[in-house]
């Protein structure tokens, strides 16, 4: 792995994990993709999407995509972000609409996730109307990006047959700071993907 693709342990993705090591073969892409993954999964200081909501969406996508690599990680993380065992079962199994414990934002986010997973979100006017009701435009972009990122990560892990276990993208309780990102990727647009 080149120095550009080597993250600091415990801050951004752990370089010893199969996903980061595999992606590290292409540092040009990893330099940008890993910070995006960290931002979307952990949020930044300006993010207002709840950690629990992020984890629910990530868990749901991993289940829908049959991505054992990320599913294993999310099952480990779930208790730390307040997702109960019964909620895990319902989200993984698809009976989440029957849960009483979900917030309205979580419910709408999961509906959006299910729609995106089968590429039907673009036709679901009601789902987007609900989204607009409860999320501002920045949150909609962030949530939609998170679901899209999950789809990418799931397919990448499945296609590359990454071994389940330590993924390296754990949900650190701290948000991603600007300094961390700058340290990770170098100066934006100046040293980047040229």
């Amino acid at each position: 792995m080149s120095p550009a693709a080597r993250p600091r342990r415990g801050v951004l993705p752990d370089s010893s994990a199969p996903f980061v090591e595999t992606l590290g073969a292409v540092p040009r892409a990893a330099r940008w993709l890993l910070p995006v993954a960290a931002i979307l999964r952990r949020g930044t200081a300006s993010s207002t999407l709840e950690r629990r909501l992020r984890a629910l969406v990530t868990l749901r996508m991993a289940a829908l995509d049959g991505a054992g690599y990320w599913l294993t990680e999310q099952l480990t993380i779930a208790p730390d972000v307040g997702i109960l065992a019964a909620e895990v079962d319902a989200v993984v199994g698809g009976s989440w609409p029957e849960l009483d414990s979900l917030s309205e934002r979580e419910r709408v986010a999961l509906r959006w996730t299910d729609g995106m997973a089968v590429n039907e979100a673009k036709r679901d006017k009601a789902a987007f109307a609900d989204l607009e009701e409860l999320f501002d435009s920045a949150e909609i972009i962030e949530l939609t990006s998170l679901v899209g990122l999950c789809a990418f990560l799931d397919r990448f892990a499945n296609a590359m047959q990454l071994p389940s276990g330590h993924t390296g993208l754990s949900d650190d309780p701290q948000v991603v700071s600007r300094d961390e990102l700058a340290d990770w990727a170098g100066t934006m647009f100046e040293q980047g993907a040229r």
Partner: protein
């Protein structure tokens, strides 16, 4: 019709302006995708170079641009995405 309005040049904050300048440097134009991501500028400034790094070629890109383009076209077709 787009579900979220794109952020036009005359609406761009300095932070969004920096993203647009970066996108122009990387991709030679500011796409409507970038203008939509501009609603979340802190995300946009990382996503835009990420897309450029993965989709576009470069001095350290090992993949034939033709293969990249074939993969892009095929994926977009399967996903019913005409953007």
């Amino acid at each position: 019709m787009a579900r979220l309005p794109i952020v036009r040049d005359d609406e761009a904050t300095p932070e969004v302006r920096a993203v647009y300048d970066g996108a122009t440097g990387l991709l030679a134009f500011v796409s409507n995708l970038t203008r939509t991501f501009a609603h979340a500028p802190e995300l946009a400034k990382w996503v835009v170079p990420m897309i450029a790094a993965i989709q576009r070629g470069g001095p350290d890109s090992m993949l034939d641009p033709r293969i990249k383009e074939l993969a892009i076209i095929r994926t977009s077709t399967i996903n019913d995405c005409f953007f």
